[in-house]
């Protein structure tokens, strides 16, 4: 008999109109890393929310046995007391508080009326060391990148004396190095006896670290695989999608035309630290029918570049020139950019992309409401047309939802991403910036999105794709610019491009910069 730390039995959870979980069971052994895989909307996050008391006992059916005891958690606080800590799909740190304050939020050191700050920061530093994060605990959260924030979340969990750690897509917004670091950390904690449950769409990571994999599909657990029986990326994907995914990237014969968009000497400064340069004399060209990749490390200025080009929605003191079809244009607001058929799909769907309390319909049509006005009238919205169009884009992006009126905030993470994509497809741009388009999207759906991208460029439009997943860039792009510290470090064609070459370019550029500094000093 295995030593089970957790057994969830026959869990059923319904939302109005959706059965998110249907008689799901999960068995987690003590001291293992247990992975949960499944398509978008399969119910992974919901299952973990049931476990951690986000959905209190009584709002679901079924039984949770933890450490041999029957548990009826009423709130997150209850589950945390039992040593179960969840790190949610969307990070939940307070940006304007320091790392230390965040770490002990709700778990303050000292007495209730006298917080012991020395203890707080002292302990915080210890835990930071434990997760290998080289930052002072006084640093504000907003000043560190997502990768480091993720580590802070883990340190925060450790500070709560965690015995079962749940991570919901912890690596979705991390690059490969940061992801690897995080996974190694989990493996290390495993040696010390901690149990973790990890949800991820990056199957290679699961193959790398998991001991057992449970696969969910449409709210039911369909398979459990353990490392002893042997599994690899292929078998997991197979079990998940229900078919072989032979090719990860659809093939396309590029039909590349003349330059449609050109940027010259684009320079952008940071909106709050006015002397910090974010994009430094960037020049690039985009051709008709081309998928152009922009590669680079976190903080290289890729998002900032795209946003500043999209109607100066980021940065100050912007200088440089942009040309559409050879004619110079000045795009001062996102509205002007959209009117010139440029779109930017944000990487931050919750913060910048979607209106969570609104239904799919209003989100889909928001950027181009004038396309759904009643014929002959200037501002009256045709609700029926809006619904029809929304349905079309729901189908095109393969969004899984109970109806087109479902509130976006209630969709699963991956399906929110698809709504966001649908929104910008609805705008029918000629030039589409996609910032981390497949973040949080399952393997099967990724392929569909790649196909969609191919059909867009086949119809004579152009795409600029920013991505931290290098294989995706290498597999999809006709040309790749490598960005480093706000500058273009180099340019590679599809044939030339390899992972090593990109990394070398970044490294060389950084070195060059250091030398420059040295000679100046």
């Amino acid at each position: 008999m295995d030593d089970l730390i957790l057994e969830m039995k026959n869990i059923t959870k319904t939302f109005p109109g959706v059965k998110a979980l249907d008689d799901v069971s999960l068995r987690v052994k003590r001291g293992e890393i247990h992975a949960i895989c499944g398509e978008n909307g399969a119910g992974k996050s919901t299952l973990m929310k049931v476990l951690s008391g986000v959905y209190p006992f009584g709002t679901y059916e079924g039984q949770i046995v933890y450490n041999g005891r029957n548990c009826e958690f009423q709130s997150i606080r209850d589950s945390e007391k039992a040593g179960i800590v969840i790190i949610h799909q969307e990070l939940a740190l307070v940006p304007l508080l320091s790392i230390g304050e965040n770490m002990f939020l709700g778990n303050e050191q000292g007495t209730k009326f006298n917080i012991d700050w020395n203890e707080t920061y002292g302990k915080a530093d210890q835990y930071l060391k434990l997760v290998g994060l080289n930052e002072s605990s006084h640093t504000l959260i907003k000043d560190i990148g997502v990768g480091k924030q993720q580590l802070v979340e883990i340190a925060k969990a450790l500070a709560k004396d965690v015995r079962l750690l749940i991570l919901d897509e912890p690596t979705a917004s991390l690059n490969e190095d940061d992801s690897r670091h995080l996974l190694d950390l989990l493996l290390e904690f495993k040696k010390k006896g901690m149990t973790s449950i990890i949800i991820s769409h990056k199957i290679n990571e699961i193959a790398y670290c998991a001991d057992t994999v449970t696969i969910l599909r449409d709210g039911a657990s369909i398979k459990e695989m353990s490392r002893d029986e042997g599994f690899d990326e292929k078998t997991i994907v197979n079990a998940m999608v229900g078919r072989d995914v032979a090719h990860r990237f659809p093939s396309r014969t590029p039909k590349i035309g003349p330059v449609v968009f050109e940027v010259k000497d684009w320079t952008v400064y940071h909106p709050t630290y006015h002397d910090k340069i974010v994009c430094d004399h960037v020049s690039l060209t985009l051709r008709k029918g081309e998928i152009l990749g922009i590669s680079g490390l976190m903080g290289a200025g890729r998002t900032e570049l795209a946003m500043s080009l999209f109607g100066r929605s980021y940065g100050t003191d912007i200088s440089g020139h942009t040309f559409i079809n050879g004619k110079e244009v000045v795009l001062k607001t996102p509205k002007e950019a959209i009117e010139n058929k440029i779109s930017y799909m944000t990487e931050d769907r919750k913060g910048n992309g979607l209106i969570l309390p609104e239904p799919i319909t209003t989100n889909t049509t928001l950027s181009s409401l004038y396309k759904i006005v009643k014929s002959g009238r200037r501002i009256t919205i045709d609700r029926d047309l809006e619904i029809e169009q929304t349905k079309k884009y729901i189908a095109e992006t393969g969004t899984k939802c109970s109806s087109h009126e479902q509130v976006v905030g209630n969709l699963s993470g991956g399906n929110q991403q698809k709504v966001l994509l649908g929104k910008w497809l609805f705008a029918e741009p000629d030039i589409l910036f996609l910032d981390e388009p497949t973040r949080g999207i399952d393997v099967g759906a990724k392929y569909e999105i790649y196909c969609l991208m191919n059909s867009i460029v086949d119809s004579g439009k152009s795409i600029v794709m920013i991505s931290s997943e290098m294989p995706e860039l290498l597999g999809m792009c006709d040309r790749i610019y490598v960005m480093s510290e706000g500058r273009i470090a180099g340019e590679l064609t599809q044939e030339e491009a390899t992972q090593e070459k990109i990394l070398t370019m970044i490294l060389n550029s950084e070195k060059g910069r250091v030398k420059l500094h040295d000679s100046k000093d």
């Binding site: 959870k13 319904t14 939302f15 109005p16 998110a20 959905y55 209190p56 709002t59 999209f310 109607g311 929605s313 607001t333 996102p334 509205k335 950019a337 959209i338 009117e339 930017y344 944000t346 913060g351 910048n352 992309g353 979607l354 209106i355 969570l356 309390p357 609104e358 209003t362 928001l366 950027s367 409401l369 004038y370 006005v373 501002i379 009256t380 919205i381 609700r383 029926d384 619904i387 029809e388 929104k423």
Partner: protein, 393 residues
């Protein structure tokens, strides 16, 4: 009409309507038991409308401000006072042509709103602070203009614009006939518009609600309209201010629920950053919200001058609270992004019924305030709890 202009006929909207009906019934029972007549006495219904017209007008404007992100306007009461004072000086003291005076007053409202809107939208000073300053500034100016005195009376032709009835009062007997025929015309228009929209939907192959549900809805609304018209007809006829209200409600209901700029308000309140990146000029939206609020306050001021037949230094005191309260009772979110014109109006009526019912019962004015405070709190608590319940499934 109210049901028609609801943005989405959702659970929340219906709950508020239900609350209004139950409060009315409760008062009816209590008033009957106390032997003080009836809440539904024709004279009283007429009264209810005249008394609360200004709240309804301002609640509509306040809703737009709240939609942009829970922003409120504290200055509306003072604007009522200031615009009223100007109206008094122009019309009563100088004997100016009333239509010219009205246009000047409305322009003044727009100007005051643009002044505040500029600071709020383009300089991004928090609305709370700007309108708090406006509250002091405008009342101060009003008192300077009035010199601390009351101006009255207004000429008859002015009063007639806002306080008369259709048909004119000397036309006894025709009242019931006229108000019933107005109701009948409205019902016919309503039925025809529903039928056309259904036919269009079917022809284009869009989903429609079931015929039974549609018929129930139409019958209920028509029955309500006719009952209402009968009560008014039994008193003095249709209060003319009801016509103004209907126009305002229709325009703003349509604006918020069916138009592109109306959608911008919800988008901005829901997630301003996303709205900006969708090409929406949120500064313009905010500027419009506050300019429009002051414009509607100016209309309310004209209505109040006529109703009280005077312009006084204390006019409009605490009107801002009535307007804000109506919106929140009517289900607007305190964080913005959700709420309907229909809800705000029902909220305003609910407050009006509370005032009116308690007055009939002879409850002390101080207690009335306390009760209204509790109702406001209860409405918001209810809203928050029901949202929570829906979230947990």
């Amino acid at each position: 009409m109210i049901a028609k202009i609801e943005r989405k006929s959702n659970f929340k909207g219906n709950a508020i309507l239900l609350a209004l009906v139950s409060v009315m019934l409760l008062f009816e029972v209590m008033i009957r038991i106390a032997g003080k007549g009836s809440l539904f006495a024709p004279a009283n219904i007429s009264n209810l409308i005249n008394q609360n017209a200004y709240v309804v007008i301002m609640a509509v404007g306040m809703l737009l401000c709240i939609l942009t992100g829970g922003n409120i306007d504290l200055s509306v009461g003072s604007i009522v006072c200031l615009v009223g004072a100007v109206a008094g000086v122009l019309i009563v003291n100088h004997g100016m042509n009333i239509y010219l005076a009205i246009v000047i007053c409305l322009l003044l409202g727009i100007l005051l709103g643009a002044w505040q809107g500029y600071w709020i939208a383009y300089v991004r000073i928090p609305p709370f602070i700007v309108t708090l300053a406006g509250m002091l500034l405008f009342r101060g100016l009003a008192n300077v203009i009035l010199n601390g005195l009351t101006i009255s009376p207004f000429p008859d032709n002015y009063l007639r614009l806002f306080t008369s009835y259709i048909p004119a009062a000397d036309n006894d007997g025709a009242q019931l006939a006229v108000s019933l025929s107005v109701a009948a015309v409205i019902c016919v228009l309503y039925v025809v518009s529903e039928a056309i929209s259904r036919r269009d939907k079917i022809r284009k192959g869009y989903a429609t609600e079931s015929l039974a549900a549609l018929i129930t809805k139409v019958v209920l609304i028509c029955a309500f309209a006719i009952a209402f018209a009968t009560l008014l007809g039994l008193h003095k006829g249709l209060p003319i201010v009801l016509v103004w209200l209907a126009v305002i409600i229709f325009i703003y209901g349509y604006f918020t629920s069916r138009t592109v700029p109306g959608r911008y308000f919800y988008a901005m309140g829901g997630n301003e950053k996303a709205a900006i990146l969708s090409g929406i000029d949120t500064n313009k939206v905010l500027f419009f919200a506050y300019t429009n609020m002051a414009f509607l306050s100016a209309i309310a001021a004209l209505v109040c001058c006529a109703r009280f037949n005077s312009a006084t230094p204390s006019a409009g005191t605490s009107y801002e609270m009535d307007a804000i309260g109506s919106c929140f009772i009517g289900g607007a979110s305190a964080y913005g992004g959700s709420g309907t014109v229909g809800g705000a109006i029902i909220g305003a009526l609910l407050m009006g019924v509370l005032n009116n019912g308690m007055s009939i019962l002879g409850i002390d004015a101080n207690w009335q305030k306390a009760v209204k405070g509790l109702v406001l709190l209860a409405a918001v608590i209810f809203d928050v709890l029901s949202k929570k319940r829906r979230k947990n499934g």
